[in-house]
Symmetry: D3
C-alpha cells in the first residue's frame, strides 16, 4: 500500500486543489492532506482557521465522490524552525511513502530529509488560485466558479466574505498585531 | 446534522474506545475524534506519537466497518494555558454541536465555554484501559485481547513494545528531560 | 455596572488616547486598558516595553484627574494564533461587557466571539498619532505638544528618543533579528 | 518616590495577602502586585484565571479603602526559563526599587539580578493560606472567614467552588493534560 | 574523521563526566558535548544555567589537558515534543556519526532516528553522580573530591552552594512556579 | 582575564568575520562567538542551520591557526521578546566582560543592560558581506574569494548552493510558511 502526503494551505480550498487530489489519488492508495500553517487565520493571506479549512475539504471531497477511505485531513502548525518542520509533520501523521508538492521550501525540506517528492500537474494554474479568490471577494466579484459549491456555502455560513473585507481595512502592521 | 466531539489520548487505542465510539455514533451524524496531548510521545504515560495514534484509530475503525464518512481524526496539542484550550480546539476542528467526555477537566472547560457535554457509558471499565495495556507490555504479559488486531499489528510494526520497556528504564526525572 | 475594554498599543500614549478614554468613560463605569503586543519593544514601530507604556498611561491619566478606580491597565502579548487571542484576553482580564476599538482585526475577532464592539470617536486624527510622534523623534522635531507632559518626561528618563533613533539605524532585517 | 513589587499567585486572594499589602504600603509609595503564573488556571493548585484573580484583588483592596493610586495589578506568566523571569517581569512592569517576597526561588532570582528583597511579616500564617481555602472548598467546609467578602462573592459568581471540586475528580495525569 | 555526540545535563560537571569523555575520545576524533535541558536552572535538580555549565566544562577539560580541538560544547534546550528533539539537536550541531549515551529516552530517540548509540563505561558510578553532589551541598558535607577543582571554584564564584540551599527551602510547587 | 562576546548570524561565515575576530582577539583573552537567530535556516536571508554555521566557523578558525582555547561558539535563538534577549544570552554563555557589535539593536539592548559595547573595525566592508555571497550564489557567479576554503567546502558538501537557489524560487509568502 502506498500512502502519499500533500501539503497545502487551502485558503480556501478550490478546484485546483480538487483536480490535483484526483490526479494524485491515481498514484497512491491513501492520501494525507496536510493543512499547513494551521495556526493561522484572520489575516489577509490566511483568512480561514484550520477547522474551517478541514470542513471545506471534507465537504468538497465528499461531494466529488472521493471515498473517505482514500484520504485523511490533518492540520499542522508552522514549526518554530524550518529545520524541524519535517520531524513535526512525521510526528503528527501516519507513516507516508512519498510526497506531492510544488512549493520550493516544502520540497527542499522533505528532499533533504530523504523523501521522494513529486511535482503536481496543475490544471489551469493562474485561474484556480486562492489569491485570485481572495481578490475577487475583496472586489465583490463573483468567485463561485472557482470553488466547489460546498466550499462556497461554508464560506457564506461563516460570514467569510465579510471577514476578508474587514481584514483588508487594517493597515499592514495592525493586521498582524493587536 | 449533528456533529459531536470526543476527546481522548488513545495511548493506545483499545476496545473501550471502540465501544464508546460505536455508542456515540448512535447519537450523532458525524464524530470528531480529537487526539489530545498530540505533541506528547516517548514517555511512560504517552508512548505513541499523534501520527501513530491516528494510524491505529483509522485502521481499527475501518476494520470495525465504521464508515469513514462518519468520523474524522484530528490531533490537538496541549494549550499553553487550560483557559485557551477550548478556543484552540475550536480553531482546529469543524464546528460541533455537543461533546462526549468523562474527563473532569475537559468537561469543565467545555461546559464553561457553553457546550453541552455528555457522559460516555463505558464498557467493562477497568478492563479496557490504556494504563492496563502499558502495564502488561511492561511486564511482558499478553495484551492482545484488549485492542483491535490492527492496533496490535501497528504497535508491533513500530517496535512499540520495546519503546515502552526502554522508557521505563529511565528514572522519572530523566524520562522527561534530556 | 458596565465594564468596557479598550485595546491599544500605546507606542507611546498620546493625547488622542487620552481624549478617547475620557469619551469612553462617559459610557461605562470601569475601563480595562489592554496594552496590546505587550511582548514587543525595541523595534521601530514598537519602541517601548509594556512596563514603560503602563507607566506612561498611569502617569498621564493621574495627571488628567481620571480617578484610578475607573480604569486598570493590563498587558497582553500577541497570541500564537489570532483565533485564540480573544480567549487569551478573557483569561487575563476581569469580565467585561463591551469593547471600544477602531482596529479592524481586533473588531472582527471580538465580534465573532459575540461581543458588542463600538467605534471610538477620534479627536483630530492625523495629528495625534503614534506614527507621527515616532517620525518627529527620528527627525529631531518637537513632539511635546502631542503627548501629556508626564509621557514626555518618562520617554526622556528612559532615554527613549535615542532608543528610537538607534533602532532606525538598523536595516529592516537586522532590526528584527540578532 | 519608592515603588515596590510584591509577587503572589493569589489562588485565591485572602486576608493574609490583604494584611501583607497593608504592611508593605507603609514602606513604599506605590506597589506593583504581580499576579504570578498568570497563564495557569483550572488546575488543583491554580484554579482561577489571572483575570479572575485581578478582579478579586481590585474588589478587595477597594473595599479595604486602599487608594487605587497606591497600587496596580499586573499578570505575569511563568517564563520558559527561570533565568529570564526577572527580565520578563521588568519588561512588563513600571520600574521598581525594592521587592517583598518570602518565596525562595523568587527571592533568589531577584537577589541575583541585584534587587533588594525584603521578607514580609505574615499575619497568622497557617490560618490564612490559599491551600487551606482550597481544602475547605473541596471538603465543603465554610471558608468565608478567610477571605474578604468581595472575594467570596466573585468565587460564587464564577461558580468557583464547583470548578475546584470538579478538578479534584480528575486523576493527577489527566488533570494536567487533555 | 569520526565525530561523536555525548548528551548530558552536567548539573554540575564531575569526575564521572570527565572520565567518560576521556574514554570516548579514544573512539572518535571530535566530540560534541551537548548541554541538555539548557533552558533549565535555579531548580533543585537543575541548579545551574547552561552558561555556567559550559564554563565549568571548558575549565575542567582544559585543566585535564584535553585539546580544545577535540571537543565543542553546545547548549540544547528541551524540545516542545520528544519526537522532534533529535531534529532540534541536528539543527544546532555539526554533523555527527555516532552517539554515546546511557540515558534510555535519549538512546531510544536517537536509535529510532537511525543513529548508532553506544553505552558509556562508567567509572565508580554511584560515587560520581550529580545527585550526590547536590545532596552533599544541601547537607553541608564536603563535595570537593567529586569534581575537578575548576568546577568547585566556579560554583563558589557564582555562590552556587547558597543557590542550591535556597532553592531547597521552596516547597515543590513554588519551586517550579512564581 | 577578559572574555568578550561577538554576535553574528554568519550566513555564511566569511573573511569579514574572520578579520574581525582576529582584530578582536587582540583586545581580549577569550571570545564567545554567538551564532544568532540560531533557530533560523532554509530561508532566503538565513539559509544555513546553526549547526552548519558552527561547523563552518570552527573549520575556518582552525585553518586560520586561531587557537581553539581562545574562542567558543554558542548558538542562541531569537528571544520571544527583544527585552529578554540579553537575559537569554547571559543564561546560555559563560560570563563576559565586554561586547563587540556594530548592529544597532544588539548594541542598544546590551548597552541598556549595562554592558560596554565596542564597534568592530571592518575590513573592506561592502566586499565581504553575506548578502553579496548569497547574491553571487543565486546568480551563479564565483564566490569562493569571499570565504575561507573550508567554508566553501562545507557549503558544497551540504549542497548549500542548490538550497539557496531552490529557496529563491518560492514566492515571499510561501518562503516563510508551509
Amino acid at each position: 500500500m502506498t500512502r502519499a502526503l500533500f501539503v497545502g494551505r487551502f485558503q480556501p480550498f478550490h478546484y485546483g486543489h480538487l483536480y490535483a487530489i484526483e490526479t494524485i489519488l491515481k498514484q497512491c492508495d491513501e492520501l494525507i492532506l496536510v493543512v499547513g500553517s494551521a495556526q493561522m487565520s484572520h489575516e489577509h493571506d490566511n483568512p480561514f482557521t484550520a477547522g474551517e479549512r478541514i470542513e471545506m475539504i471534507r465537504a468538497a471531497l465528499n461531494a466529488a465522490k472521493i471515498h473517505p477511505d482514500r484520504f485523511m485531513v490533518i492540520p499542522i502548525p508552522d514549526a518554530p524552525a524550518h529545520r524541524v518542520w519535517v520531524s513535526a509533520v512525521e510526528s503528527q501523521t501516519p507513516r507516508f511513502d512519498l510526497v506531492f508538492s510544488n512549493q520550493s521550501l516544502t520540497r527542499r525540506l522533505l528532499i533533504e530529509a530523504g523523501y521522494e517528492v513529486k511535482f503536481i500537474k496543475l490544471h489551469e494554474r493562474g485561474k484556480f488560485e486562492a489569491t485570485e479568490i481572495r481578490r475577487r471577494i475583496l472586489e465583490r466579484e463573483d468567485w463561485s466558479d472557482l470553488v466547489p459549491p460546498e466550499v462556497h456555502r461554508i464560506v457564506m455560513e461563516i460570514d467569510g466574505e465579510n471577514r476578508i473585507r474587514d481584514l483588508a481595512k487594517s493597515d499592514s502592521v495592525n493586521n498582524r498585531k493587536h
